[in-house]
């Protein structure tokens, strides 16, 4: 009898194994969000996947036109209602990871994606050490579009000559400065400044290395000054500016078709020019961004794995080439990038010419865009070098604010005050001890989760907690990945004193 049972059990187990192998072979109803212009192409590509994949997966896909920028907003609003596969610009990446809208790539897929795509693009899809998305394009950069009938060929390498040509012809030089940090940063990258942000596994920004306020930064704003103080500078990045009297427009590959229609054979494209400060030449840099494709997390492991196979296929060399041929989307796949057709496309060629001076757009704090944007206005108003320096000082102060707790009001928000971060009652405020340290003695009541962190009242942005505890670590729990909010979670109820010295906490039990 025992033998029989064990035989039956063994058979059941085998059946289980077999089921794993065939688990993917099913038909799935899915929703895919892509940009309007590749809607049909994507439908064909999914058909091709259905008929060619080795796992027997069939997708019954509803394809909706949702532009990349909107897709990210929608996903954050309601992940559950979002598309199973969706595309987004890389600047939305950290936000999506934080919202739990992206599922992690498996080890094999990560290795394949890393090996096959440009390094900068892979970095853009990484949070901590893990990949969360598939690179779709690598063409989100900008370069120089100009009207050949106004700008002579030999002037396109010099910013000063371009400005002079535009002023002489009474035509505009369109380069977005006052209205977009994405374009504005180009001058800083040209002189070697960096703004590198670090996120942890949960998508939270933890530190920045920013050198905009430096001697090189000052050179950059001197170059920028030449442009923004010209009466013929226009802060725009739209190719239709050519219709309204512009001779030069700095924009990206998405505007190539439109510019070609407006200017016809007079359209010229090239990398960005150089500017000269104190006899030294600096080639204007640029951001080099990409679009990514993400897979929404799902409870059904087979379904999720099948979706990952599809996303991997859709972002592979073949599909990227199809998108390039149909809509000139610049591929991120290294083999596709090297192909003759891609090399021969004038817009992409200009982008590739600009590539050595470009900086891969990694993860950037959402507030940075607003903070940096102010520089152009400040530069335009500055009358001397001190004014330019003040613009940079102002910028740096605001960047530092992002990661600094304002010591004038420190609230230990948590379970003990009902997580009310706008608490005006001073019970849980850290009080200054007069020597640069701040302390609070309070009772931690017994509860299921005895956690909290220190914030400035009314804000969650600049919180400090578990990671900053240097003394008294034995009194609190180390929850690891279960503590994405960096909370200090006490191991036991009691009366504690917590002291903050501006950089670290020490916790003592009384």
């Amino acid at each position: 009898m025992k033998k029989l049972i064990s035989l039956v059990l063994a058979l059941v187990m085998l059946a289980g194994v077999a089921a794993v192998g065939e688990g993917f072979a099913a038909s799935y109803d899915i929703t895919v969000w892509v940009a309007e212009e590749i809607k049909e192409l994507t439908a064909q590509q999914i058909e091709a996947f259905n008929s060619s994949n080795q796992y027997g997966i069939k997708f019954n896909a509803t394809i909706e036109a949702v532009s990349e920028a909107v897709a990210a907003d929608n996903m954050v609003n309601d992940v559950e209602a979002g598309g199973d596969i969706f595309c987004f610009p890389q600047d939305q990446f950290a936000r999506l990871v934080k919202a739990g809208a992206l599922s992690k790539l498996g080890v094999a897929a990560s290795e394949k994606v890393t090996a096959e795509n440009a390094a900068g693009v892979v970095a853009a899809a990484k949070s901590g050490d893990s990949l969360y998305a598939y690179p779709l394009t690598a063409d989100n950069g900008y370069f120089l579009f100009y009207d050949k009938s106004v700008i002579p060929e030999e002037d396109i390498d010099s910013l000063e000559a371009l400005i002079a040509d535009c002023e002489a012809a009474q035509k505009y030089f369109a380069f977005e400065m006052q209205t977009s940090s994405w374009y504005l940063a180009s001058f800083f990258f040209g002189t070697g400044c960096v703004s590198e942000w670090t996120t942890d596994d949960a998508g939270t920004f933890i530190s920045v290395r920013d050198t905009f306020n430096s001697p090189e930064g000052l050179i950059a704003v001197k170059g920028m000054e030449k442009l923004v103080k010209s009466p013929f500078h226009l802060s725009s990045s739209k190719a239709d500016s050519f219709e309204s009297n512009a001779a030069v427009v700095v924009t990206g590959i998405w505007d190539y078709e439109l510019a070609k229609q407006i200017l016809g054979d007079n359209l010229g494209v090239s990398d960005l020019p150089s500017f000269t400060v104190d006899g030294e030449e600096y080639h204007i840099g640029s951001f080099n961004g990409c679009k990514l494709m993400g897979v929404k997390p799902s409870n059904d492991a087979y379904r999720q794995a099948a979706l990952h196979f599809l996303a991997q296929y859709l972002t592979g060399e073949e599909c990227q080439m199809q998108r390039f041929n149909a809509k000139s989307w610049g591929p991120s796949n290294l083999v596709a990038q090297a192909s003759e057709e891609v090399q021969a496309n004038p817009g992409l060629a200009a982008l590739l010419k600009q590539a050595p001076y470009s900086v891969p757009q990694g993860q950037i704090h959402g507030s940075w865009w607003g903070i940096a944007q102010v520089i152009a206005d400040d530069v335009k108003l500055a009358t001397d070098e001190a004014g330019l320096q003040a613009a940079l000082d102002n910028y740096q102060a605001k960047i530092e604010e992002l990661f600094t707790l304002d010591n004038t009001a420190l609230l230990f928000v948590g379970a003990w005050n009902g997580w009310n971060n706008a608490d005006t009652d001073k019970t849980y405020y850290l009080a200054s001890k007069g020597d640069g340290t701040y302390a609070l003695t309070f009772d931690v009541p017994e509860s299921g989760y005895m956690g909290g962190r220190v914030v400035n009242p009314g804000s969650w942005d600049t919180d400090k907690g578990f990671a900053q505890v240097t003394e008294g670590a034995d009194l609190i729990q180390d929850l690891g990945a279960d503590n994405p909010d960096n909370n200090i979670v006490f191991a036991a109820p009691g009366n504690y004193t917590i002291t903050w010295d501006g950089e670290a906490f020490s916790i003592v039990k009384n």
Binding site: A35, S67, D78, A81, K238
Partner: protein, 293 residues
Amino acid sequence: MSDVKVQKAMKQHMGLTASRRISNTAIYIVLTVMSVIWLIPFICIVLQSFRVESTWQVGYVIPRQWGWNNYVNLANTDFWRWYTNTFVLAILTAILQTVIVLCMSYTLSRFRFKMRKPLMKFMLVLGLFPGMMTMIILYRVLADLGLTQKNSIPGLLLVYVASSGMGYYVSKGFFDTISKSLDEAARVDGANRFKVLVKIILPLSKPIVIYTVLTAFMGPWGDFVFARYISMGTSAGKNVAVGMYDWLSQDQIGKNYTMFCAGGVLVALPVTILFLFLQRYYVEGITGGAVKG
């Protein structure tokens, strides 16, 4: 009348007409200038919608080549689907909301029941909260009922109609101005309450009925924020404003700008026609209800 008197009267008369003429001319000039300023954007949109030589924004107003292409191209998009969505939604909202509002106003104007005053005050206070505040919770409720995305049209209808009872002020004010003795006479003749409303009150309140229909129609016709939120990620559930907004995104505006203008003209048409014909009642409706609160 003596000659002198006649002359004096004539002089006065002429002086009057002359001064009236001057003031009239001044008024007309001001009005003309204002209407030109107001109309310019609309005229521009109409002109742009007939421009066929290019599809992006340009620096001139008068098209160099005229044609219907932009209107024809609308058929290749989901535009007519969105248009139908919006139209059905607006018509249904107009009907349901009008019925609810008129019944509500009649009840509050003619009936005397316990808690009538507190109820009115309660609705007044409720109405003071900004509707935007409820957006997220409404989204959650509709999502759980399955009335978002593809099914957002019935969902939106529910939202538009659900709170319409609270918009009774203007029509109640109007009903209050109609003499109660009319009701009483009808009641004596054997009419029930409903008959009084239908046969006596409504025929006397044409302006307010039309005003109610118009405002009820306009709400869904121009809604954007909430409609966008609950129809996310699906083309089928969009209204026309939400659908067309996507044509203005960075990657589409170059291709779709003139088509967007054509769509805009078509959206403006029903509302314009409605207003042209019902304008008279609309003004009467607003001012009529203001006599007594």
